[in-house]
């Protein structure tokens, strides 16, 4: 049974990285040390949306929800983070949260951030 659990988990992880935004390093598929796109290299950014423009939101300590949004930024995970911040907002119209991953070109040495997911939630009233 234990080997079957490992195989089922690893196959599911491959599907979630291919068809979804899961980082290859996580999800129990043993993809660690195979890709630049590891959890710690992903970037979580947030903005308060206002009629005058977007204001960067200073993120607090990375907690379970943030880690989930970074590792597997499906709409539900990203929105959960945005909703948490939106609930504490005193001004602005809403919160936008983005998850980025890094890429690397070994011929030029350029490392670039690439958008993986974005979620916007209106301010709670």
């Amino acid at each position: 049974m234990a080997p079957a659990l490992l195989v089922a988990t690893a196959l599911a992880q491959i599907v979630l990285t291919r068809a979804g935004p899961l980082t290859p390093w996580r999800g129990g598929g043993f993809g660690l040390f195979s890709s630049v796109d590891k959890l710690e290299n992903r970037i979580l950014l947030a903005w308060i949306e206002t009629p005058e423009g977007d204001v960067p939101l200073r993120l607090g300590e990375s907690k379970h929800d943030e880690q989930n949004a970074l590792a597997f930024p499906i709409d539900r995970h990203v929105r959960r983070v945005a909703e948490r911040y939106a609930a504490t907002l005193e001004s602005g119209t809403g919160v936008r949260v983005e998850v980025w991953k890094r890429t690397f070109d070994p011929s030029t040495g350029e490392s670039r951030r690439v958008l993986v997911a974005r979620g916007t939630v209106p301010r709670a009233r």
Partner: protein, 289 residues
Amino acid sequence: MHAKLREWLADPVDVSARMVFALFLLSTWVTTDDWTFKLPLRVIAIAALVLPPLHRDPRLWAALAAVMVVKTLRHWFTQDNHIFLLTWFAVGMALSLRSTDPARAACRNARRLIGLSFLFAALWKGPLSGEFMNGSYFTYTFLTDFRFHGTARLFAGVPEEALQDNYAAAYQLGGGTADAVVLHGLSPRLHVVALVAAWWTFAIESALAIVFLAPETWRRLHRARHALLLLFGATTYLVVDIETYGWSLMALGAAQSEPERPGLRALYLATGLLILAYDYMPLLNWLVG
């Protein structure tokens, strides 16, 4: 003393179980700081270590497996791969220790778990990743990952200033203040070292998958698995300081050793301790000053 040590090493399940429970007792990385998991895991580990033969009681392993399964479900997308491996091992031990031949069942389980974990690791580095075999992953890692600082300096000759610039650039990219940064320290030597590291890793992980998943009737291949796993443990974790992963592999290695070969279990334990020593003493960083 010698007789006592032989007695301690006599049973694969005993040695492996003690190594696993010691890990749960000592490593917060494995238990996490969340008290809802840390507390029961530490209680189970202490009970197993101070109240033998509780360490081979299937009910205790079932309790460990239950806590680990809940923890795994909660942290599915964020927890490390070896925590999954330990979870499945605990499930396997809980079932194996109920069987008519616990040692043989535990051995078979551990062997398959090790083989499968290396099979998927090799699949990821080979066909599934488009950036591993061409050296791209290791080039980036040597240039930006402080855990590979010693390796980057010693083997790839990356200057200290370049690494410090790269750490700052990577931080800048992470803060969202830049869309792209250029990393310093690229060189033909770094490219060669990255390629060697990639191909060596792919080769040894593929070989480990083959020897651990080969049928027992393929005797020479089957017996080679111990030497290969010990070599992997002794070399890999000198460069990569994830001692809990290395220790877990050595614990599983002990579980699948032949009962008549206590010397192998001594080697798995010694290699586990060596892996801890690598972590406590950053040897490569000392070498480059």
